[in-house]
Amino acid sequence: MADINRIKKELKDCAKDSETSGLEVKLVDEANLLHWKGAIKGPIGTPYEGGIFRIDIVLPSDYPFVPPKMKYDTKIWHPNISSESGAICLDILKNEWSPALTVRTALISLQALMSAPEPDDPQDAVVAKQYKESHDEYCATAKFWTETYASPKMPGLDMLLSMGFGEEKAKAALLKCDMNVDAAMEALLSEA
């Protein structure tokens, strides 16, 4: 049986400094203490800056003796995170876990991982190869993915919404037209 008290205290601790730490967690369902959703801000000075990355957190029944299971819900272009599934390659979430760590410290480690990728221990080989061989291209892709998938708001979306287009359609059009607002508008108009 997972320790209910520890989990409750961890939740409380996470809530305490959510404004300064750039971390946020909440329960998916108030009745289930073992399934959390976390959100971390992309570190400043990285291609992930400006993005909000959502993390799925599942605490196994024998937590804290085993690490929490974490994966990215938000798509991200990063050598240590699968661009397909969001699976994370990070030692403390595997054999370097210790009960001295918490969900909060694990999320901070993820933030650090986003600042300093480790391409020699990759989760996504394609990204890792790009990171090592053509770094500029990696930065551009990662930035584009951040803007596309992790931005709290898409640039130009407000404008399209104010013109009366539906949110779903406007987002789809923006994605299709590489975030070019004019092209997206034209596409939406021609559709209509």
Binding site: R6, P64, S98, P99
Partner: protein, 356 residues
């Protein structure tokens, strides 16, 4: 069934609904009726963490005894009630704390010289005042009542007033003991018991560096050196033990136990922090693995890392160390690393923890 659960209890061929919550016990009306008068004790057991199974077994025993004997106990005669009411009139109703509906259980309040409040419960047999009432108190020593004897017949005369005056005299005996205990409660950080009753002469108080000291006073000689038990990391406790051994001559029965202890141990006992426990608190006493003070099997964090002082339940440390391939075992001890500071730590092996 665990605390927090609900279910049915089979009493004398009958299923009765019952629900156990940390806040109390809830049962069907018939079951409530059957255990009437025993609620405070059951409640007390629950609040002090007695295992649910034991509380339920107790509950069933009581209920079966009442329900099983279908012939109801004969009601006491009318004189019984008149007598009880008259006695309460005499004592003054302000001292009455509680009274059972059948008037057979009376809880009265007595103040000692220092103004501390003490409760005494008297259970009156239906033949009262011909038969002796039973009393229940929270005193550190047994309380024997010597009843006044009637001049003519030589038979003991039972009365509530006699009990109350003797109770008051009995309270005098323990004034010094309670003064010392109150002094600990007010000026140190008492970790255990959380809600001390007047019969409890033990206090576990916080020391610096996650350590604690369990003090058990002697009821007969409260100002003498109490029984001491040091809990925590040896690194911090060793100097205290050495100070205790070399300074025992300083102990003076004329002074308070707290002052004596502080002088002998050459330390100041930290007082209770005003704010709630936070991260990085130097006196955290919760287990650093499960974040609880009391574990599921009701132990306190009895292990501590000698290097960083983090406290652990032996069971938690066992479970963690056993999951690591680097942990060594020698006889019945496990040798591994502290989860926080990675320095060597050893713990006695426990049998497999029963997971609830």
């Amino acid at each position: 069934m665990l605390v927090g659960g609900s279910g049915y209890l089979r009493v004398a061929e009958e299923e009765m609904a019952v629900q156990l919550l940390p806040s109390g016990l809830y049962a069907s009306p018939r079951l409530c009726e059957a255990v009437r008068g025993h609620e405070p004790r059951l409640q007390h057991q629950l609040q002090h963490g007695a295992p649910a199974a034991a509380v339920l077994a107790d509950l069933r025993d009581i209920a079966e005894r009442r329900i099983g004997t279908s012939a109801r106990e004969a009601l006491p005669p009318a004189e019984f009630y008149e007598r009880v009411i008259a006695e309460l009139d005499g004592l003054g109703w302000s001292v009455l704390l509680s009274l059972s509906p059948a008037l057979d259980e009376v809880e009265l309040l007595q103040r000692d010289d220092a103004g501390r409040e003490h409760a005494i419960t008297m259970i009156l047999p239906s033949e009262y005042p011909r038969l002796e009432p039973r009393t229940r108190t929270a005193l550190p020593a047994p309380f024997e009542i010597s009843w006044p004897r009637a001049a003519t017949t030589g038979r003991p005369e039972y009365s509530l007033a006699a009990v109350m005056s003797q109770f008051k005299r009995e309270l005098q005996k323990h004034q010094l003991l309670w003064d010392i205990l109150d002094d600990f409660d007010a000026n140190t950080w008492v970790l255990e018991p959380l809600h001390p009753t007047r019969d409890c002469v033990m206090r576990r108080i916080a020391l610096s560096g996650n350590c604690s000291l369990q003090i058990s006073l002697h009821v007969g000689a409260p100002t003498s050196l109490p029984e001491l038990l040091f809990l925590g990391a040896d690194r911090i406790l060793r100097p205290l033990r050495e100070a205790l051994n070399s300074n025992l001559g300083v102990w003076s029965v004329q002074r308070g136990v707290r002052e004596n202890l502080q002088d002998v141990l050459q330390t100041q006992f930290p007082s209770r922090p005003q704010t709630a426990l936070g991260e990085g608190d130097a006196y955290t006493t919760e287990c650093a693995i499960c974040y609880n003070y009391r574990s599921l099997d009701d132990t306190v964090p009895e292990c501590a890392c000698d290097a960083c002082g983090k406290p652990y339940h032996g069971t938690c440390l066992n479970e963690w160390l056993r999951s690591l391939p680097t942990t060594q075992q020698s006889f019945n001890r496990l040798f591994g690393e502290c989860p926080y500071c990675s320095r060597p730590i050893a713990v006695e092996m426990f049998a497999d923890r029963i997971l609830g």
